[in-house]
């Protein structure tokens, strides 16, 4: 049975050290090169979903010369089915702030921000109390790096890093053209490291365990453990820390209700995997990547309704700046409704598929580009449900 069950890990939510901010204090005594080397050796990739190697991001920013640099923690968790960052911030905020501080040291920044989604404002007072403790300890250590929390106001797109900068600068959350990348021009056009909440906690794990022990978790392409948000048709919804690189069929054995028809991996912007493909699907950067969202659907669910819900979501959350995304989301939604009602022939779905492919190529940011992921994976795998 041990071979069958998924390996649970308890590192991210593990207890704090007895002495407050001990690992931070120990790490601050090390050289930047040694810290960067540990993160590079660990193979850590960003935990927000895109999976960019963290050490490279930090290295590029460290190498950019500037009077001012910023560290930003992206806590604008908004992907449907994702709630891991809320759990991390509720349970182990100290690890997040410590990770940010270490980043500040490595890149030579004196100022960090956490961009907390407005939906999580209820945590603000507790987080600020922890920040008071952090600032007290940083002062004692003679370490000049302060952290401030900024709130979002209910806009999914602000989780896109350049939209987040725009929002923090007081503008509409409209993504910028890339390049330039944040490592050279981020918040206030200054070199900026922006990482997901969980990525900063992973840095602390590496500092505590060392890269060799950290690397033992996961697979070659997907090192370490990952916090998964499991929801939908499951008897045991919740937060689970698991090794990366697991096959989806084993995940479904453990979390499904015995009647699982499909799993949406990576939220509304991710991929829908039907039952027949569970066996051949690996969860990780080498297979289907995920920021942690795993939504399980059983055979009582209409995949048309699921897709309709996603498209409504995208249509509302599109910033409206570029035409492919603004009009594309509206047309995809109108299109599936028309096919379902019989106002358009089934072949119209092929037209819609082409539209989603153009969005993938032409939309300005990840939102518009990724609508095609769920659209094509649901329409291709559940075509009859779209029509009848």
């Amino acid at each position: 049975m041990s071979d069958q069950s998924l390996k649970r890990v308890d590192l991210i939510f593990g207890e704090y050290s007895n002495v407050k901010y001990k690992i931070l204090a120990d790490t601050l005594a090390r050289t930047n090169d040694a810290i960067l080397k540990d993160i590079l050796d660990s193979g850590l990739r960003g935990r927000g979903g895109a999976g960019f190697p963290t050490a490279m991001k930090w290295k590029y920013t460290a190498e950019t010369t500037s009077e001012e640099k910023y560290v930003i923690c992206n806590a604008d968790e908004g992907e449907p089915g994702t709630f891991k960052d809320r759990e991390i911030l509720l349970r182990v905020p100290r690890k997040v702030f410590s990770g940010m501080a270490i980043c500040g040291k490595v890149i030579g920044s004196k100022k960090g921000y956490m961009y907390l989604r407005g939906e999580y404002r209820f945590m603000l007072n507790d987080l600020n109390r922890e920040l008071d403790i952090y600032h007290e300890h940083a002062k004692k250590l003679g370490f000049d790096f302060t952290i401030e929390i900024r709130l979002g106001s209910g806009a999914y797109i602000c989780g896109e890093e350049s939209a987040l900068f725009e929002s923090m600068e007081g503008g509409r959350g409209e993504p910028r053209n890339k390049p330039p990348y944040p490592t050279t021009s981020g918040f206030m056009k200054k070199p900026t490291v922006i990482n997901n909440v969980e990525t900063f906690v992973n840095v602390m794990m590496i500092m505590r365990l060392g890269p060799d022990q950290y690397k033992k978790l996961g697979t070659t392409d997907s090192r370490g453990s990952k916090v998964f948000s499991v929801s939908g048709d499951t008897p045991i919804p919740g937060i689970y820390e698991l090794e990366l690189g697991m096959p989806l069929d084993r995940f479904v054995d453990e979390f499904g209700d015995g009647d699982t028809k499909a799993v949406q991996v990576g939220g509304a912007s991710g991929f829908c995997v039907p039952r027949k493909k569970f066996k051949d699907t690996v969860i990780g950067f080498e297979g289907v990547p995920t920021g942690g969202s795993m939504m399980i659907f059983n055979s009582s669910r209409s995949m048309y309704n699921v897709l309709h819900n996603y498209l409504e979501f995208f249509q509302e959350e599109s910033c409206g700046q570029c035409t492919p995304c603004r009009v594309g989301c509206q047309q995809l939604l109108k299109g599936i409704v028309a096919v379902k009602k019989g106002e358009k022939k089934a072949a119209y779905l092929d037209q819609l598929m082409k539209l989603s492919e153009s969005m993938k190529i032409t939309a300005k940011c990840g939102l518009g580009q990724s609508v095609a992921n769920s659209f094509s994976s649901i329409v291709n795998n559940f075509k009859e449900e779209m029509i009848y």
């Binding site: 407005g118 979501f313 959350e317």
Partner: protein
């Protein structure tokens, strides 16, 4: 509104008069006055030396920055997939019946506004909603009765 310009000065003194202070100031006004009136937004523009277009542009982008009058308690029910699957419709119906308003409306006594919103991050405990900033999850008809009865007395 004289009261509004006082508040704006207070918030600008606290957060600064930079463009990057705009969002915290807008959030501060919504927190205290439940919404952003046109006068209030033009006053903010003056205080921060921005154009009204810039302030209106930013304010109208964010779903939590209301530019229409709202009640003292704004209820936002999550309508994203897992909450929808787990009975969001019944929750909305119960709230509509209790408050005698439809989604998008405010009670005549200006106490409650009922809205729908996108994923709140409580998918494992859906259906979920926010009342102002306080989250409620694992909602049932009974729970809604208890919560709303409590808020009615507030």
């Amino acid at each position: 509104m004289a009261e509004c310009s006082e508040l704006i000065k207070e918030l600008a003194n606290k957060y600064g008069r930079e463009r990057s202070s705009l969002l915290p100031i807008l959030q501060g006004v919504v927190e205290r006055q439940n919404f952003l009136s046109d006068t209030c937004m033009t006053d903010i523009a003056k205080e921060l030396d921005l154009s009204a277009a810039q302030v209106f542009g930013t304010a109208t982008f964010y779903s939590f920055l209301d530019t229409e009058p709202r009640g003292k308690f704004v209820i936002r029910v999550c309508k994203t997939i897992t909450c929808d699957m787990h009975g969001k419709k019944t929750i909305i119906q119960t709230l509509e019946d209790m408050l005698k308003i439809k989604v998008g409306e405010t009670t005549p006594n200006k106490k409650f506004t009922l809205l729908e919103t996108n994923c709140l991050g409580w998918c494992h405990e859906g259906p979920a909603m926010l009342i102002n900033e306080i989250p409620f999850s694992g909602l049932t008809t009974e729970k809604i009765h208890d919560i709303i009865s409590d808020y009615i007395t507030k």
